[in-house]
Each structure stands twice: as structure tokens, then as C-alpha cells.
Point group: C2
Chain length 471, copies 2
């Protein structure tokens, strides 16, 4: 990158707004997991107008930009490649505005605001943005990946909860689209904001958003369920939904391998199972109400116990055992899975989804096939049975020579994705969107007519080089 461009961008953004030394840029060049690139510069605009100016300059000069917000993604979607020719456009100074509309139950916020900060500021009003994740991303990245998380079953994904956006297009003018009305009902042509949700920042840079908020849960009860068999899991889900309706706010699946990894590596966790014996597969079920407990109302713990007892007593019950326990303890186990799995060896992670009836069939198939093909790989899956998502994590022993084989990981990825997409009709990216890590699979699994449309859409919205995804 020639110094003239750095200087021009510095003039646009001021000293704090442009970083170009190796030490200043390091954090922006490194992803959340096994991921490192080299940036030409890091631009840190502090307003939509500054984003527009940077984008316009870069498009006119053919400089590629990678938008980055919390940089917690796992598919190399928010870090530069190793060419040293891409600039990072960081949203980290775009934390304003913060405008709560209590009656509309919405907030207008900057795309650089962190999820935990957002929800911290909303707590006093009894509201929250109901996307529950292990990571703590910023809003721009959540929109670019359309994250779902653990309460999708009850609250849906980012798409459902996004009511407005302000977007800068990568065209010569850095055109600003104001799609921020915050209306819940509005059908006056194309809902353009949908194009910027889950599309990895390829079609424009989100600078502000208007989000739907939900009342904070006021009563919660949780249990760990042991299904009668993996085949019984769908019937258990249906039985729970029939008995509990929309009270059911999470129905998470955890493999015994993942649970054991968490118990082994996260010191604060307590083994909740009888005799310490971890079952092969466990469900975390949560029920919750956003209304306070009323006088004379049965506590939710008791409701959950009654419902589970009734299911357990059925002829051919899908439930073998259940432990109702305090939510913080039970969720601690669920939230410890990532950490536990990470410490078990070299991790190769997949973010898959299926129709709900197909998840367990896929998992059983892979459990049967894996030893035949990759004997040294352990499946440590967990995920969101209630919405079809599976974090299909594979742990390879760190001293394994095969890791050094350049064909090993690509071969494994190819095999898993083929089974997920072709055999079971699933998705190869449930909520991580597309980055350099899974670009090849986008190219492979996206039908020609869709790729042609996507390239056409790119050319009419953001023709300039933007984002890690290509068409």
C-alpha cells in the first residue's frame, strides 16, 4: 500500500481514525481462532459519514476493505487475507447512537456496540436484545452473520429482531441507505435491509441498526434430560412443545463427549449426573416466562417437573431420566462446552443445520462412519436441537501426525460437508455466514442460477471490493 493512500485516509479520519503500524494493527489482523492475516491499514471511522468517505475513497482507488466489528467470527470473515493489500474497516468507534424507544420496544444503536454492553444498558428498562450467544460480538457482526444462538426457539434470529439499518454501499459515492424507520409493519416494495443480514458484509457496511427488544425473562426453570435413545430425541421435543407451547425457550443437545470435555477442563463445573456417569447424549431444556410469578401460580420448577413426569410415564416414553436444577448451574455446563472442547486437542469446527427431524439421524450416521474413515477424530457435538443447529466439533489428538498432512483437514471438511448438505439436506453455515474458511463450499454447493443472481446483485449494490466473501 503506498503511503499516499495512508496519508489520504489519515486526512479523512484523523489520527485516531487510521492505524498503520504493525503493533497497532495486530489485534485487527488476528481472528478468534487459528486465523491471522496482514492488513494494509486499519480504518476506524467514527460516524456513518466517515464510513462513507473511506469507502468512497477506497472504491475509487481499487482498495479492498474487510469490515470488522467484534472480530469473534470463526470463518475468517472479518480479518484480512495475508496479501497485505486489504484494509480493515473497523466499526469499533461506531458505538453511538443509543436511543431507546420504550413504547416501540426498540433501540437504535451503533453497529460497533458490543452485545453485552447493549443488554447491560437495557436491563434497567426490563428489556433485552434476545440473542443469546457464547461469544460477545458487536452488533454489526451479528447482523452480517445473522446469529441465532441458544434461545432461537423462543426469540428467533437477528433477522427476526432487526427492524432497521443504516448501510453504506461500496460504490464510488459511498452511498448511504437509510433503512432505519423502525416500523414493525412496512411493505412498500423490497425490504432492502434483508440483503445486508447474513451476507457477511459483502453488500454494504452496516453502521447503525434498529433492534426489536423483548421483556426480560422473569421466571426460568431448567433441566437436563436423558433421552431414551438418540432416535427418541425428536419425539421428546414434540412432547415438550405440546405440553409447554411457547414456554419452551431452549432445547439444546449436548453429546456426552462434549460434556465430559467440559467437566474435565472447566474447573468450576460440578458433575450433575448420578454416580458421575455422563450419558451419551443430554438435552438442556429451559422454560421461561417474561411475566413475574403471580400469587398462587405454580413455580416453573414444579411445572417442569410435572411435565417431565407425565412424559416419562408414557408408554414407550422418549425420556429415560431427568434432573431439574438451578438455571445458572445448568447453563454453566452448556456454556462450558466450547471451552472444554477447545482444550481437548486440535479442534476442527463445523456450524451445521438441519430440519429438526434430521439432526439426530445425521449425528448417528457420523458416529457410525467416523471410526471407519478418521479413527483418530472424536465427535464432540453440541447445539440447538430446537432450531436444527449443530456445532459439529471434531477433536483431533494434538500429537497426531496426520494433522501435518495438508490433505487431512480439507478431506475431513469435504466429507462432513458432503454428508451434511448432500445426504441430509442441511446447511454448511447455520449462523457463521461465509468467510475465507468456507468460501470453497459456497462455490461448490450454491446452484449456478443463485450464484449468477448473487453476482448481479453485488454489481448493482456494492460493486467495489468489500468483505472476505466472493461471488
Amino acid at each position: 500500500m503506498i503511503d499516499a493512500h495512508i496519508e489520504a485516509l489519515q486526512n479523512l479520519l484523523g489520527e485516531k481514525g487510521l492505524l498503520a503500524t504493525a503493533s497497532d494493527m495486530a489485534a485487527y489482523e488476528t481472528g478468534a481462532r487459528y486465523d491471522h492475516g496482514a492488513a494494509a491499514f486499519v480504518a476506524r471511522p467514527a460516524s456513518t459519514g466517515e464510513v462513507s468517505a473511506v469507502v468512497s475513497y477506497c472504491v475509487r482507488n481499487g482498495i479492498a476493505l474487510i469490515p470488522q466489528s467484534g472480530n469473534t467470527g470463526l470463518v475468517s470473515g472479518s480479518t484480512p487475507d495475508d496479501s497485505g493489500r486489504q484494509g480493515v474497516l473497523s466499526l469499533d468507534r461506531l458505538t453511538a447512537p443509543f436511543a431507546l424507544d420504550r413504547v416501540n420496544r426498540t433501540v437504535k444503536a451503533g453497529a460497533g456496540l458490543r452485545l453485552s454492553d447493549l443488554n447491560g444498558r437495557l436491563e434497567e428498562a426490563g428489556l433485552f436484545f434476545p440473542i443469546d450467544l457464547g461469544a460477545d460480538p458487536c452488533l454489526g457482526g451479528m447482523i452480517a452473520t445473522n446469529t441465532g444462538g441458544s434461545r432461537f426457539l423462543r426469540y428467533g434470529d437477528v433477522r427476526r429482531n432487526t427492524l432497521g439499518l443504516t448501510v453504506v454501499l461500496a460504490d464510488e459515492d459511498g452511498t448511504v441507505l437509510d433503512l432505519s424507520s423502525g416500523l414493525r409493519k412496512n411493505n412498500t416494495g423490497i425490504d432492502w435491509k434483508q440483503l445486508f443480514i447474513g451476507t457477511s458484509g459483502a453488500f454494504g457496511i452496516v453502521t447503525e441498526c434498529v433492534l426489536n427488544l423483548e421483556p426480560l425473562p422473569r421466571q426460568t426453570a431448567t433441566a437436563l434430560l436423558v433421552p431414551a435413545s438418540t432416535e427418541a430425541v425428536p419425539a421428546l421435543l414434540v412432547a415438550m412443545e405440546e405440553a409447554l407451547g411457547s414456554y419452551l425457550s431452549a432445547f439444546e443437545g449436548m453429546s456426552g463427549n462434549a460434556v465430559r470435555a467440559a467437566l474435565d477442563h472447566v474447573a468450576s463445573l460440578r458433575n450433575p449426573f448420578q454416580g458421575g456417569i455422563v450419558p451419551d447424549f443430554v438435552i438442556l431444556a429451559e422454560i421461561s416466562r417474561s411475566s413475574p410469578q403471580r400469587e398462587g401460580e405454580q413455580p416453573l420448577d414444579a411445572v417442569l417437573e410435572d411435565v417431565l413426569a407425565a412424559i416419562w410415564e408414557q408408554e414407550g416414553a422418549p425420556l429415560a431420566d431427568a434432573f431439574v436444577g438451578p438455571p445458572h448451574e445448568i447453563w454453566a455446563l452448556r456454556h462450558g462446552l466450547s471451552e472444554g472442547v477447545k482444550h481437548s486437542g486440535r479442534l476442527i469446527a463445523f456450524d451445521l443445520s438441519f430440519r429438526r427431524g434430521d439432526i439426530m439421524r445425521f449425528l448417528d450416521h457420523m458416529k457410525a462412519e467416523m471410526p471407519k474413515r478418521f479413527a483418530d477424530v472424536t465427535i464432540c457435538d453440541f447445539g440447538h436441537i430446537g432450531d436444527g443447529g449443530v456445532h459439529f466439533n471434531l477433536v483431533v489428538a494434538c500429537d497426531d501426525r496426520r494433522l501435518a498432512d495438508p490433505g487431512f483437514e480439507p478431506g475431513l471438511r469435504e466429507w462432513v460437508f458432503t454428508a451434511a448438505v448432500e445426504t441430509f439436506g442441511g446447511s454448511f453455515s447455520a449462523e457463521h455466514a461465509i468467510g475465507r474458511k468456507n468460501q470453497g463450499f459456497y462455490d461448490k454447493y450454491t446452484p449456478d442460477e443463485i450464484r449468477k443472481l448473487a453476482a448481479g446483485l453485488k454489481s448493482i449494490t456494492s460493486p467495489g471490493p468489500l468483505g472476505a466473501m466472493t461471488f
Copy 2:
């Protein structure tokens, strides 16, 4: 239309598949309200393949097609213009498939299926497609307009509940897009189905859909609420949401004028108000649970009464009076409003939406201004306060000479839309989308950069003449 085209289309579709006589076409040429055109023909394909063949033929021969499903729309979006040169593409034979996936809680259905038929067939499974409307449209039209209805507050709109589509593009090949995976989580590029939702059939013809289903409500309680003042309505909504959380499944506003019109013209309705005196503004509140009533659980009627009593006892309470009553009776009043208003005189209807805090401000403003500008027009509004939607209905005495004045209705529409969109930041089409009736307002209120993008998108998806909307 020359006979050669009719013959060619008849060859493609068979005798039942193409109508061309005046008597056969009459029903397809007439809209649900004050709306009549002249069709060149009515094509009734019975499969996605036949839709593709018809569309391809018409695009190659420059013949414009107007997709039509239930034809219950109110903006002239599904009927031909009066040129006699447009063909109607009816979805009325596209009622297959019907594939319920109990575990996934989805159904794959034909776009020509009627909402009442769909929900009738789902009842046995304890599920429903949760869009509650006065009209009984077919699925294709519901998708093209992204209808919301009376339970939006709880269940959202068609967009939220659409998990997959099969679409035929108006290009020379009649390209079929299979977007029907039915996955709840899937972020592998653009979510193309979003482009066909709420866009009035301009970008493609939906032939099949995969819909999210919800458990049927098992307990319901309703009340009519009299707010302390119109200004108190937002506070009443917030208080109800704080006390009831997601139990609250409807919060509908009804003007006294609309209620009186219903009581006057719908014989089966009973006046529920003390002394028969209809208040100036009434709220219909519904709470519901999709779980069956459990032993020892307080009935929902009692819950609602307790909550209303607590709100009523507050200092400066937003609630003046309330009548808890049986749901069928209270909803009968709500559902009688359209009928009542229709019989009160010449009706000029608007389908507006606002941020929730702005609805009552808009209504109060219009009530104050209307007599000064249009003394002979009565406002009979009702709508969905919980999601910001207002059916802003104006009744003009039928013997009014001004109706004959060609400037009267356009002037009135212009004034209302200007206030709604420019003064109060609302939408001029909340859930009716765009047809010939509001095309002019699309042209007027859509920013240039958005219109340019829309035209570009049209050219890359469906360049052929399709639908009543133009770009």
C-alpha cells in the same frame, strides 16, 4: 391479444388451464373492492413446471402477466388493468403439495391453498399457521403482501413464518428457484426468499412455500379496555406487556365510530358496553397460552382481571374501564368492524403503520384536522396498536356531490399519506403491499437511490413484465 397466443397457451396448459371467454374470466378481472379490469386471458397452471412454461412463453412474446391467488387484496395488485392486454396468471389450481413435517413444525404447501383450508387441515395436529386475518386469502398472495394481521404481536408476519419458497422468475427461461430447504438456520449467502416476500409478485411467482407452524392456543382470555385518554394508550400497552410478557397476543385499537358502525350494521353483534354507550376509543386485549390449563393453574380470565385491576389502581392509571368477556363474542365485534364500516357509506381505506408510540398522535392529529379540510368525511379507524398498524378508514356519505369531483379522492389520499409518511414517519402500506392503487405513492415516497436499486434488481431477476407494480 391475437388468437395465436391463446392457442399456444392452451396447448401448454390444456383446456382447464386457459380461460379466454368473458364469462369465464369475469371473476378473475374483479377485485375485492371497487376494482375491475379486462384480462387478455386467464392462465391456470397446475404445477411449477407449467408456471415456468407459461411465464417463459409470455416473456418471449412480451405479454404482461398479473399473478393472482385469492384475489382478496385491496390495492389493485392482483387484477389486470383495463387495457385488455395483460394476462392473469391464477394460482387457483396450485393447491398441492401438502406435506406436514411434524418434528420440524413446518408444512410445504401450494401457493394456491387458501388460509382457511391450510389451518383446517392442520387442526388435527394441534398446529396452525399463525397469521390471523379478516379476509381468507391464498398463501401466494399472503407472501406477496407479507400480511400481518391481528396476532402479529405474538407471532409476527408472513416473513417471520416463511422458511422456504419455490419461485418462477419472469425471464426467457422461466427459471425455477428452489429455495425450499425448510431450514430454520441457514446463512450461506443471500436469503433470496426475502426478495419475494412483500414485493407484490414483481420479482417472481411463488408456486410453493414451506411455512413455520405454531402450537394452537389452548387457553385464551379477552377484554375490552377503555383507555383513560387516547394519550394514555401507549402507557397502557407498556403496562400490559410488563405484566403479561409474551402472553399478550393481541392489542387492537377500535375507534368508537368503527364500533358503532359494526353494531349498527351487523345484526348478530351485541353491544357490550354499560348503558350501550360506546366509548371514543376501545382496546381489544387478548392473552393466550399454547399450553393446556394445568391443575391448580389460575384460569386466564382471572389472570387478566387481576392484571387489569392492578393497572387500574395505579396513580394516574392509563385505564378507565374494562370488560372481560368471552373471546368469541369480543372477537366477533372486532371482526364485524370491516363489514360495519363498509355499509356506512362510500369507503376510502388506508393501510398505514407507525412506530407504536406515534399511532395515537397521528389519529388525534387527523381527528383534529379532518373537520377543517374534509367536513363530510368520518374517520372509522381500527387496527393493530401492538405492532403499529392502522386501518385508517374514511367513510364519505354516499349522496355527497364531492365524490363526483375527480379531484376529491386523490386530494384526500394525498393529504392522508403526506401526514402519515412525512409528518409521522409512517408507512403508506403496512400489509397490503403495492398495486395500481398506491403505485403513485411508491413513486413519490421512495428515495431515488432505492428506486434505482429496485429497478436494477428487477432487471437481474425478472426482466419480463410481471405484476401490477412498476419500478
